[in-house]
């Protein structure tokens, strides 16, 4: 009689996956809280130099980013290998830096417009000539607070 058939001893009961969503949601909330959104994809090589005397850039909303470096391999055919400036998602010339800063500054709320920092993310292979031009542009639009973004590490490793 099937009604009273004994269960076979051999097969294991299936592991309950009912709590799997909870685990995954936990992971999800962890990542949502500790990370920040990427705002632009990099089109330049960006190996930052090392430094020890660094300060953290708190408050991401008060930072304007400027990337400098050689175009990445996929763009090298079109743009060559000379270091270029990247503003938002496209390459730009030195003259556009000033107007970019002004445009970004205008987007921010009034009360933080005076405390903005410009983060220069420059590849360590770049030459200072380009940086000097950018700095000149920043001075012209009175964006005097800059942060040379670096990795933390022994600064003498830069020289190799």
């Amino acid at each position: 009689m099937s009604k009273f058939a004994k269960k076979k001893d051999g097969d294991l009961p299936a592991v309950s996956t009912a709590s799997l969503p909870d685990i995954v949601f936990m992971l999800l909330f962890f990542f949502m809280t500790v990370t920040t959104m990427k705002d632009s994809s990099l089109m330049v090589e960006n190996t930052l130099p090392n430094a020890t005397e660094i300060k953290k850039l708190e408050k991401k909303d008060r930072v304007i980013y400027i990337y400098v470096g050689k175009p990445t391999r996929e763009y090298q055919k079109v743009f060559g290998t000379e270091p270029k400036i990247q503003l938002n998602d496209k390459y730009a010339s030195v003259d556009e830096v000033g107007s970019y800063i002004l445009a970004e500054r205008a987007k921010k709320p009034q009360e933080i417009q005076n405390v903005l920092t410009t983060a220069l993310k420059v590849d360590k292979e770049a030459n200072m000539g380009l940086i000097a031009d950018i700095k000149q542009q920043l001075r012209e639009v009175n964006a005097l607070k800059v942060n040379y973004t670096t990795y933390e590490g022994n600064a003498f490793n830069n020289l190799q």
């Binding site: 969503p21 953290k56 920092t117 200072m128 000149q136 964006a143 607070k145 040379y148 973004t149 003498f156």
Partner: protein, 202 residues
Amino acid sequence: MPRRKGAPEVNAGSMADIAFLLLIFFLVTTTIETDAGLDRMLPPMDPPEDIDVVIKQKNIFTVNINRNGQLLVEDDLMDLKDLRAAAVAFLENGGDGSCNYCKGRKDLASSDNPEKAIISLKNDRETKYATYITVQNELVGAYNDLRNREAQRLYGDDFTSMEAEYLNPETSKAVRDDLKDKVKRIQEMFPQKLSEAETSTN
């Protein structure tokens, strides 16, 4: 036919798939690190009106970087590793004796006091950025070394950690008000006067 149960239960088996999808989306579009770097102030475009300030040559510590990354410090070739010590010696020289916390040699041919001491950094257009950052790091390091020493003497804590805590937005207001005066006092003992001349073109 009478209904036996209420609404049938929704199958939650695909909940995990939805959550995984969201998780992967957030993993791909976000970055975990906060940026850090060297904070600097650029000189303003138009200098203030009183430009007739005479700075004595002995109060200026000139650092020149050439295109090959070699250093010329006060007209002498110098290794990058010695730069920090040289800058520290210059800053706390205390030639006129008005600085009572300086431990320098009180050499009359070097800076009068930390208030007047200026470090002037000049670089070539073809200097590598990495070299420039290393030099900046060493010069800021020289200031931080001196400030740390004074902070240790006065408050028993490092200046850099005090400043980091002061700037951290999570620090409570009471602690921050307390730190503000200390940080300011140390900063005034060794004001950071690091001038960057315009780049030379030759």
